[in-house]
Assembly symmetry: C2
């Protein structure tokens, strides 16, 4: 493994955690912010109700997203296991068909008939290794990690809570919904922009573009929620 590959793999591990935080926090900043904005447009609603609704949303959202993330990870593991079993079964039941399939893979890469046969004959001697190759190549699957699934759930859930507290805090420190909305817009826009900027920077995309995209989604969601709430209240 040369240095660049090692670097890339470290980068990848970091980006798994980062991806979780990004998923949780961007939704956390956006949805409670938009909900609070929507409720601000309703005449009879006080800051107290907005905060209560916001906290209810944050706790529900963090459970749904956190557990959702955990279950997605568990499903991935179950999918891997069932595909693994299928691959072993196919090797037993359709031995020659599987060998031909494997030769065809190398044929597509322009390898000679002789090489195709040689590779597959050697590869098919060890069934475990053969299955491992087919899993990685045909299905692009690596064995997923249950610990990752648990970490992922925690990261997403906590990030959602942290993100959600930000827009809500404005309603705690003001007394009128309209003032809460104003300060909430200011601090959340600043956070969405900063967060979008660093998110893009770490994932290697143009930071300014990422900052603008993240901010626009948040404001769009808030504007839509404000409009819908005004329409139906």
């Amino acid at each position: 493994m040369h240095p660049e590959t090692a670097h890339a793999e470290k980068h990848f591990e970091q980006s798994e955690t980062l991806r979780d935080i990004v998923i949780g926090m961007s939704d956390g900043l956006t949805v409670p912010f938009a909900l609070a904005a929507g409720l601000s447009s309703v005449h009879s609603v006080s800051n107290n109700i907005i905060i209560t609704a916001g906290l209810a949303e944050i706790i529900a959202g963090s459970i749904a997203m956190g557990l959702g993330g955990y279950l997605a990870g568990k499903t991935e593991i179950e999918h891997y296991d069932s595909e693994l079993k299928r691959e072993y079964r196919e090797i037993e039941e359709f031995y020659e068909v599987e060998k031909k399939e494997c030769r065809d893979i190398f044929a597509e890469y322009g390898l000679s008939k002789e090489s195709q046969e040689k590779i597959v004959d050697e590869l098919s001697k060890d069934h475990d290794k053969w299955v491992d190759f087919m899993m990685r190549y045909e299905l692009g699957l690596e064995k997923p990690d249950i610990k990752r699934a648990r970490q992922s759930a925690r990261n997403i859930g906590v990030a959602y809570i942290v993100g959600g507290i930000v827009p809500l805090s404005a309603y705690i420190f003001t007394t009128q919904p309209i003032n809460g909305l104003l300060f909430s817009c200011i601090i959340t826009t600043a956070c969405l922009f900063t967060f979008g900027y660093f998110k893009s920077k770490v994932t290697g995309q143009p930071p300014l573009q990422g900052a603008l995209t993240t901010t626009i989604i948040g404001l769009l969601a808030a504007a839509a929620a404000f409009g819908i709430a005004r329409l139906f209240s």
Copy 2:
């Protein structure tokens, strides 16, 4: 490609769309349900406010999830393109190192030294095919589809709206929050159970277990939201 593989690949395409719908609808059923349940516990809140808050949440959530899904797809494409460039660059700059890396892959599968050399010599003749192999094998990456990203965004967003309307409808057809909560619990529990059952059935997991898990997450989120709202109101 023998019949079982063709079947598996068709299955995979369906499961992409299904996954989107599952993601959107399970969150749609859960979060607005829990938010409404939370608000029901607050003394001064009317059905009208619950419906307004619910609709604001649904529209904000569908925008955040739908656009989130679209951007995740776009990021995947950008990631693929940057990895592709890196792989081409490495082949140019570290030609021998890359050849050795490629031989090592086959060495791990127990292939003979002779086979390793033969394969890699033949494979490295065509740079496009070589890069394609390394991308698929080393990174498990297939070229993602921009059309998929757009479809995915639409599926998730619409599924979230459809899922969210279900628990909210109970508050439309009742006049007191407590009655709304009661009917909302009944219809949402039934939907979560049914939805969890079919979701697991189509993804090949034990349906009853899946139905129970989905239902429990939804009820857990609602109970937590109810508790938090009562605590802070």
